[in-house]
Symmetry: C2
Subunit: 340 residues, 2 copies
Amino acid sequence: MPSEETTVQSRTAKATIYDVARQAGVNPSTVSRALNNPERVNARTRRFIEATAIELNFQLNHAAQVLQTGSTKTLGLIVSDVTNPTFFGILREAGRVAAQRDYTVVLVNAAESESKELASANRVINAVDGLILTSPRMSDTDIQLLAKTTQVVVINREVNGISCVIPDPDRGVSQAVRLLAGNGHKKVLFVAGPELSWMSARRWDAISAACEWCHLTAERIESAAPTVDGGRRVARAVKASGATAVITHNDLLAIGLMHELQNAGVVIPDALSIIGFDDIFGADFTTPSLTSIRSPLGQSGSLSAGLVLASLSGTVKDPQTLLVDTELVIRGSAGPWKGV
Amino acid sequence: MPSEETTVQSRTAKATIYDVARQAGVNPSTVSRALNNPERVNARTRRFIEATAIELNFQLNHAAQVLQTGSTKTLGLIVSDVTNPTFFGILREAGRVAAQRDYTVVLVNAAESESKELASANRVINAVDGLILTSPRMSDTDIQLLAKTTQVVVINREVNGISCVIPDPDRGVSQAVRLLAGNGHKKVLFVAGPELSWMSARRWDAISAACEWCHLTAERIESAAPTVDGGRRVARAVKASGATAVITHNDLLAIGLMHELQNAGVVIPDALSIIGFDDIFGADFTTPSLTSIRSPLGQSGSLSAGLVLASLSGTVKDPQTLLVDTELVIRGSAGPWKGV
DNA sequence: ATGAAAGCGCTAACAG
DNA sequence: CTGTTAGCGCTTTCAT
C-alpha cells in the first residue's frame, strides 16, 4: 500500500524532476531550467531547487534526456583488439578532449574478428553520438554505411568519403632507413602485416621509397599474424634472407622475432638490427629495448575526438583527412652490423 | 513544405516504428512485437514488417527503449588507469559473458586520480545497468554510495556490503616462496604497492605467512608508485637490502626494478631472483622473461559480469564474495642464487 | 522569472 | 494475433 502524500521516498524508486518540483513547490520545467540553464532562473529558487535535488538524491534520467534532446553526449571508441596496447594513448587523449565539451568516451572491445567488429559497432551505434574506429578491419562499404547513421572518424586507415586521421610513415621511416644506412646496412627486410592491411601497404611503400633513395635494397616477406607469435614464426625466414636489418609491420612482430632469434643465438643488434612500428607500451621491456617508429597515438586520439565533435556541432561539414607525423624512437635494437 | 503522403523518406530523418507501421499497414505495437517477441506475431506479417524495416533502414531508438523499459542492456567497466594492461582479460571475458545475455560492456577510462575515477563512475552510472570496478582507488563509502544507485561488483578489493571478486594470493605465493626456498634463498623482500592498496596489504600478508612457514625471512619496503618507473627508483634500496629474492606488488614494478638492476650490472636471476604479480601482457617481453604470480583476469571478468547480471535479474540477492585462485607462472627471472 | 502543455519513440497492459 | 491507449522522464515552446 504505497503512500504518496509524504516527503519520504521509497528507497528503491528514483526521484524524478516531478518529485523535486513538488517538494520545492515549483513547476517541473523550472527544475529542468535550474539544472540546464542556471542563469535563466532566479538565484534563490535555483539554490533551493539544487538543495532539494541533492536532498532527494536526484539524478537526471539519462534516457529521457537523450530521447528529448537527441544527443547522448557520448562517443564510442572501437578497437579491433584490446590485446594490442596501441590504443592506450588514443583513449586517454580522446577522452580528455571530449570531456572538455562535456562528452564521455567509452571503449568497446570488438574482439578478434571482422564480423564481431561490425556487430559491436552496430550495438553501440544508437547509444552514442559518434564513433571512432581504430585500425578497423571491416570493409570500406561497412564503414561508409555506419557513417550514414552516425558521425565516424577512422584512425590508421583511409576510407573514401570518411574523415580519417592517419599517421604518415614517411618521416619516421626515412629516419629509420638513414640510421640503418649510416650503420652500414645494405639490405633491409620488411616483415609485412595482414595482407589486406591498409597501413601495412603504406608502410612498405614508405620503406621501399626510402631505401631506394638511400641506395639500399628493400625486400619484403609476409607474416602469419601481426602478433608476437607471428614474429616468432617468421624468424627462420628472416635469418635465411641474409638481411642485416629488419623493419616489422608492428612492435609485436618485432618482439616475437627478436626473442626467437635470440633463442637461436643471434645477437641483437650486432648480428641483426630490428626496428618496429608503433612504439607500444612494453616496447622498452625487451633487452635490448626496441627501436620503433612511433605514431603519435595521443595526438590521433585528440584529433579524432575533435573531428567527431566538430562534425557533431556542424563546425566542420565535409570529411577531412588529417595526417600526423611519425618519428623514430631510437633504443637498443638497431645498431652497426658487426658480422655474424 | 514537407510532404507526408509518400513513401520517400527524408534522408536525414530517422525512421520510427510509426513509419514502419504505416508503411506496413499495421499498428506500431505490432511492429514493436515483431521486433522484440517475434514468436508472438503471425509469421507472415512479421516477415513483412521485417522487410519494410530494413527497407526504411529502421533502427530502434535506444533512448526511447531504455526510457520505457528501464534497462540499458549495458554494463560499465571502470579501470583506474588504462595504462595498466591488467584489465585486458577482464574486458574480453566480461564482454563475452555479457554478450550471451545480450548485454554490452563498455570500458570507461578513469584516468589517473581518485576524483576522476568517481567522476567517471557518476558520468556513466545512469547510462548503464551495472558497474564493474577494477582495483578502484575511491573510498569504501563512495563505492557503497554508487551501489545504492546501480549494481556494482568490485574486482581486486573487498568492500563491505558489495559483491567482490578477489584473487586469493595464498596459492600462488606459496608456490613462489617454495620455489625460492628450494633454490636456496634465505630472505625475500617484498616491494609494496600504494600505501592504501587493499591488494598490496593482502599480498604482503600472504608472503610473510608463507615465508614463516618455510623458515625464510620476509622483509618489506615501500615503492613510490606501482609503475615501471617506481620499480627503477626502488632498485638501490633493493640492492642495499642484501636480499637474494624479491617479490614485487606488480609486474610493472618488477620490470622497472629488473631493468635498473641489469643496467647496474646485476645478473638476473643469478644474483637476484625477481617475481612479480599479475602476469600482465608484456611480462614475457623481458629478458629473462618475468616469473609472475598470475591472477586469472579472464575469470575475474567473467565472474564479475555474471555477478552483475545475476543481481540484475534477481537471481542473486545478497552481496557475494568470490575468490579466484592465483598461480605461479615460472619463467626465467627467478632461479638459484649463484653469488654476487 | 515561472507555469502549462505537448511530445520525443518506444513498450505494455488491456481489449477484442 | 492485432489494435488502442497510456505513459516512461525530460525539454521546450508558448503563455503569463
